[in-house]
């Protein structure tokens, strides 16, 4: 049947919804570019002091910065994607309407968030990345296969990112208010995704731990795949494994929530 088409339509809706706000998108492009410039200089100073930190040379560190700026909104690293709306719908009780729909709740929200992510990447991410490539030395591959592999890694990163935020959003069924959860999402997202520093540059055992957490699937993996620092198939397997585990956990939590929790509202 046309269930595939249904989710495609939901994804297209998510894409169009964010595409509506052109001025906000332009503002985001500007902000990401400014932050990219600041970060690039600090990373260059760091790599100047310690060349080959984390196995990256300077050009690779610069590439990592601009990929991070490209993915900041795309992967909703500090939150603000589908989970924000979902939390609000759970809080107000409107979630009851979603549960009535002849569609799978998790897939519905995943599709919408994928649409959002694709728009954020194209509308908001590409320009800062291109800016970086023009004005700073970057380690970009010439082989189309590396770019294709990076694209696959990005799609998987989007799914993992959604799966983490979906779990957080479902907690509102019990907590009623998403403020604390959002803060936790923001802190873990910024830190463990490697927004503050590439995960491979983290010191010692701590560095080994952060590299196996699900957040490593978000920026570190696509960056390493793009720059040929890791075997693409291994990276895909890592990302897919986390995607499956987290989505399955989301399904479990979802069924527990819909069975045991009384929906809010009149």
């Amino acid at each position: 049947m046309g269930s595939g088409r249904l989710y495609l339509a939901v994804a297209a809706g998510g894409f169009r919804r964010y595409a509506t706000y052109r001025a906000a998108t332009a503002a985001g492009v500007f902000t990401n570019t400014v932050f990219g410039v600041i970060l690039v200089y600090t990373y260059l100073a760091l790599w100047d002091e310690k060349p080959h930190l984390g196995g990256y040379d300077q050009a690779q560190a610069v590439t990592y910065v601009w990929l991070g700026q490209c993915l900041y909104a795309t992967l909703a690293i500090q939150g603000g994607g589908a989970e924000k709306d979902l939390m609000e719908r759970i809080r107000t009780g409107e979630i009851a309407v979603d549960l009535y729909r002849p569609a799978d709740l998790q897939l519905w929200w995943l599709a919408g968030d994928m649409g959002r992510a694709l728009f954020q990447m194209l509308g908001r991410g590409v320009i800062p990345f291109a800016f970086g490539a023009i004005f700073f030395p970057m380690a970009l591959p010439t082989a189309p296969s590396a770019w294709a592999a990076c694209l696959v890694a990005l799609l998987l990163a989007m799914v993992v990112s959604f799966a983490i935020r979906y779990l957080a959003a479902l907690s509102v069924f019990w907590l009623m208010d998403g403020m604390g959860v959002n803060q936790a999402l923001m802190i873990t997202g910024i830190f463990f995704s490697g927004m503050v520093l590439p995960l491979n540059a983290f010191p010692g055992v701590f560095g080994d731990i952060v590299l196996v957490l699900p957040w490593a699937a978000q920026i570190q993996m696509p960056a390493d795949v793009l720059m040929g620092e890791t075997d693409p198939l291994g990276a895909f397997a890592f990302q897919a494994a986390w995607a499956v585990v987290l989505l399955a956990a989301g399904r479990l939590l979802q069924s527990a929530a819909t069975r045991r929790v009384v929906v809010q509202g009149g």
Binding site: F30, T31, M179
Partner: protein, 273 residues
């Protein structure tokens, strides 16, 4: 006389509105405590980044950890104060879009005071606390031959820095009247500015340093005076008296921001819905 009266009235209105928001946030005490803590942790991530860097190297751009912490503490504390006082101004774009800005215009209180106190959030004390702790660490660990002018410069930097960042917030609010949806642009200057100033000026390109010294004088929040206190040459040669100019620069920024705000307010057209 009239000006002074207006200022007192503005402060009174600000106090009343801010007090209302504080009371409303105190209704959910646990939530308040949790968000203060969360705010502290979120802002501390910037410093964790610096600590992580220094776990790998001994200096950044030639500056040691206590010296960078000194810059960080000054930038974060000054920004934290401005953020507490005027940081909710980014909701202005929303108010202009949904038309509720009109309500503020007809109330018998200065609009700037109303906008500044709108959604006043005491949880932002988290950022100030975190910045002050790092500044405290820097003051005890940094290797400086303290003289009277150097000691005096520390509070002067915090206050002038807060005033410079406040001027940025007000100018940003004026910009939102024109730009509405583009509210995020001001983040590049406010949050971007405080992040920039957390690192030594030697890290950045000379043109960038020139730009934030002479065009958008963010450097007077901490870079210029801190370079003097630490006895380090400022990357683009400035006379030593420049270290004491930050209060004047701050006053000029506030005056310009005030003019921008008035111009913005005069050109405001309601959404009409």
């Amino acid at each position: 006389m009239g000006e002074r009266h207006a200022l007192a009235e503005g402060l009174r209105a600000y106090g009343l509105i801010a007090g209302m928001w504080v009371r409303s946030s105190m209704t959910y005490r646990t939530s308040f405590v949790v968000t203060v803590f969360g705010n502290l942790v979120v802002t501390a991530l910037d410093f964790v980044a610096i600590l992580l860097m220094f776990s790998q190297v001994d200096s950044l751009g030639g500056w040691s950890l206590p010296e960078v912490a000194f810059l960080y503490g000054l930038s974060a504390t000054a920004f934290g104060i401005a953020d507490l006082v005027l940081g909710s101004m980014d909701v202005l774009g929303g108010r202009i879009r949904d038309g509720s800005f009109d309500t503020l215009l007809v109330r018998p209180a200065p609009v700037l005071a109303q906008v500044g106190a709108d959604h006043f959030a005491l949880r932002r004390l988290g950022r100030i606390t975190q910045g002050a702790v790092v500044l405290g660490y820097a003051l005890v660990s940094v290797d400086v031959d303290w003289s009277a002018p150097k000691v005096l410069l520390v509070p002067v930097m915090v206050v002038s820095g807060a005033a410079i960042f406040s001027a940025l917030f007000v100018a940003g609010a004026a910009f939102q009247i024109f730009a509405q949806d583009a509210a995020e642009v001001q983040n590049a200057f406010t949050y971007g500015g405080t992040t920039l100033l957390q690192y030594p000026p030697t890290v950045f390109g000379k043109d960038l340093v020139r730009g934030v010294t002479f065009m958008l004088p963010l450097a007077f929040v901490n870079w210029v005076s801190a370079a003097y206190v630490l006895g380090r040459p400022y990357p683009i040669g400035l006379p030593s008296w420049a270290a004491f100019m930050s209060p004047l620069v701050a006053a000029a920024c506030c005056a310009l921001a005030g003019l921008a705000w008035r111009a913005g307010l005069r050109s405001y057209r309601s959404t009409g819905s």
